[in-house]
């Protein structure tokens, strides 16, 4: 991917609100340690909101780092590995905002969502938005 800053932010917002929301709806009832589905959804969507909002901050950091890359690209591997720092920040922010979710459930929820978003922006997104890859990841 060769994102611009605007493209990064738009892509983050768009894929979290579409693919992220759909996946959270599907997977949450099956997470271990969730007693009531309603509580599970509440916690899961709070975490997704953190991935979205804190993620916008992370995108600024990534964009800053990208400036040191000659190709002005963001390799797929980086998109995968940033799951570690974002996973950690999401967990810590979740704890500080008192989001109640068991550790295993968080791990499954976060990692599957991250992998799906990663796969999505590295392929199928282009089928929906044919100009997306030419405009630095801008959706609109």
């Amino acid at each position: 991917m060769t994102p611009t800053l605007n493209g990064r932010l738009q892509t983050r917002i768009f894929v979290v609100l579409t693919v992220g929301v759909i996946w959270t709806l599907i997977v949450t009832p099956f997470l271990p340690g969730i007693d009531r589905v309603g509580d599970g959804y509440e916690a899961a969507f709070q975490l997704l909101a953190i991935v979205l909002i804190a993620g916008l901050g992370w995108e600024l950091v990534y964009h800053g780092l990208q400036q040191f890359r000659w190709e002005k690209d963001w390799p797929a591997l980086f998109g995968l590995l940033t799951g570690f720092n974002e996973g950690l920040s999401t967990w810590l922010l979740g704890v500080s905002f008192d989001v109640r979710v068991p550790g295993t459930a968080f791990l499954i929820l976060f990692s599957t969502t991250w992998l799906l978003l990663w796969f999505w922006v590295n392929g199928p997104m282009r089928v929906f938005f044919i100009r997306w890859r030419y405009q630095g990841g801008r959706v609109f």
Partner: protein, 511 residues
């Protein structure tokens, strides 16, 4: 009485804007086509593909070409520059020539058609970890060719093709253009026919190949076309002779073509017993990371400047695309110079080959300006080189391979020269066709008609990667969007994109 032969007349040649009557007087039959693309190579193919996907029927597109197949010229140049069927190109996994969406990518398709676990896993791992842990994934030329064959069938390319040559495209009184077409002899009752159209697309590829001037001079003066060769022309006899006897070969140029020539030479030494000494002449010897600022530093060593593709990736659709788009004149050419120049990918295979070649004394690099090339004793060809410290070095060799990949200027191509002289086209700061960001050729509008161009003839404009698979697809999409805004075709929005992609998956013709 006027004799009508259906041929060009002096009046037509001298008149920049033609009328229907003038063609009738000359006896040239006129056919109507809403969209004409001239060239018939990969530029025309991506254009026709995109328009078909945007809902344009084959009956509205005329492809004027003397090529038998859209990959004909590409394959010819690739084979000559030492890319056999199993070798990989220098093109991104998602720059999929037969699929304007770029998904599934070449890497995915290679994986899912593989017959072994390694064949499945290797491309997936490579594309997921490129370029950090591995080289960039790049597709095999054979796979690209086969998938293009499928797509030409799917869009019914053959039904749009009109074989013949186009050397003149002129504006028409009342709007639009005439493309004057010369069909093969015996296939038409008249020598020429004209296509009357509102929209012309010019995609004729390289205007011509160019030799380094000193080598051109040597060849002409000494009539030596066998020992001083261009890497883009057939030159297999050089490699065959090098296997037969010990010899010295000079390689000029530091781009990807030189890397491929070096690969061939070193493989012949290692696998076929050639006893070749390779002397590599660099005009600009890059020995370290280089660039104008800490934010624009490119890797380099051993003479070569390294980057994955012929431009930094961000030039195709990221920050660098927009930066270039906002620049004019010298600022634009300056940025192009920083991002481009001679460069080659830092592939592990090539690095290891060069390392062995240096260690074994097969490969020597020279840095300097060539003063001239002259015949020497013992039938050698001697290059007089002025080294960076001002001293003169004589380099004697049996063969010289020009791998600089220079392209000729527009005037060498009859159609392009005619566009400059009669159709209102102009040149950009690099001397190629001056086009708008949406690839209309500036100065050629003839309402309601428009003339567009794509490919290497537009280099120097607002988009760097014009001479690449993705660049051709980008240009085609920009042109299709412009045509859509004028009501010629549908804009490829989310709905059309999805439905047409699904048709592609099922190998159904576009609708």
């Amino acid at each position: 009485m006027t004799v009508t032969t259906g041929d060009l007349t002096q009046t037509l040649l001298d008149t920049s804007v033609w009328s229907d009557v003038m063609l009738a007087d000359a006896g040239i039959p006129v056919y109507d086509a809403p969209f004409v693309t001239v060239g018939g190579g990969l530029g025309s193919l991506t254009m026709a593909d995109t328009l078909r996907i945007a809902g344009v029927p084959t009956s509205s597109i005329a492809v004027l070409t003397d090529l038998d197949h859209p990959m004909h010229t590409y394959m010819y140049l690739a084979r000559n520059s030492q890319i056999p069927d199993h070798e990989r190109l220098r093109s991104d996994s998602a720059s999929v020539l037969d699929n304007i969406w770029g998904w599934p990518s070449y890497a995915l398709r290679e994986a899912f058609t593989a017959k072994s676990f390694t064949g499945w896993f290797a491309p997936l791992l490579q594309v997921a970890t490129e370029p950090v842990l591995t080289d960039y994934y790049t597709p095999r030329i054979g796979d690209v060719g086969r998938s293009v064959d499928r797509e030409t069938g799917r869009i019914n390319w053959a039904s749009m093709v009109h074989k013949g040559q186009v050397r003149v495209v002129r504006r028409r009184y009342g709007g639009g253009y005439f493309a004057l077409h010369t069909p093969p002899e015996g296939t038409s009752p008249t020598r020429r026919v004209a296509f009357r159209t509102s929209n012309v697309h010019i995609a004729v590829g390289y205007p011509g190949l160019k030799f380094l001037p000193d080598l051109q001079e040597y060849r002409q003066k000494h009539q030596d076309y066998g020992r001083v060769v261009n890497a883009y022309e057939p030159h297999d006899h050089v490699y065959e002779d090098l296997v037969r006897r010990p010899a010295v070969v000079v390689v000029r140029g530091a781009g990807i073509v030189s890397s491929r020539v070096l690969q061939r030479l070193i493989e012949d030494i290692e696998n076929r017993g050639a006893r070749t000494t390779i002397l590599h002449l660099f005009r600009t010897y890059t020995d370290g990371t280089h660039g104008p600022s800490i934010f624009m530093r490119r890797r380099g060593h051993g003479g070569f400047a390294y980057q994955g593709f012929n431009w930094p990736k961000g030039a195709w659709g990221g920050q660098l695309r927009y930066r270039l788009e906002n620049l004019e004149g010298k600022d634009r050419t300056d940025l192009l110079k920083v991002m481009g120049g001679a460069n080659t990918p830092e592939r592990k295979l090539w690095q290891e080959q060069l390392k062995r070649a240096r260690a074994n004394g097969w490969y020597h690099a020279y840095n300097g300006e060539v003063e001239d090339v002259v015949p020497g004793p013992d039938r050698k060809i001697v290059t007089h080189l002025r080294a960076k410290d001002g001293s003169m070095v004589d380099v004697a060799a049996d063969y010289i391979v020009d791998a600089t990949g220079l392209e000729g200027n527009l005037r060498e191509h009859r159609l392009l020269a005619d566009l400059l002289d009669h159709a209102g086209a102009g040149t950009n700061p690099l001397g190629r066709l001056d086009v708008e960001p949406y690839f209309e050729i500036r100065g050629t509008a003839n309402e309601p008609g428009r003339m567009y161009a794509s490919g290497s003839i537009t280099l120097g404009g607002y988009y760097a990667g014009v001479d690449s698979f993705l660049g051709l697809q980008f240009a085609a999409l920009q042109i299709a969007d412009d045509l859509a805004s004028r009501g010629f075709c549908s804009r490829i929005g989310v709905g059309r994109s999805l439905s047409q992609w699904w048709r592609w998956v099922r190998r159904r013709s576009p609708q």
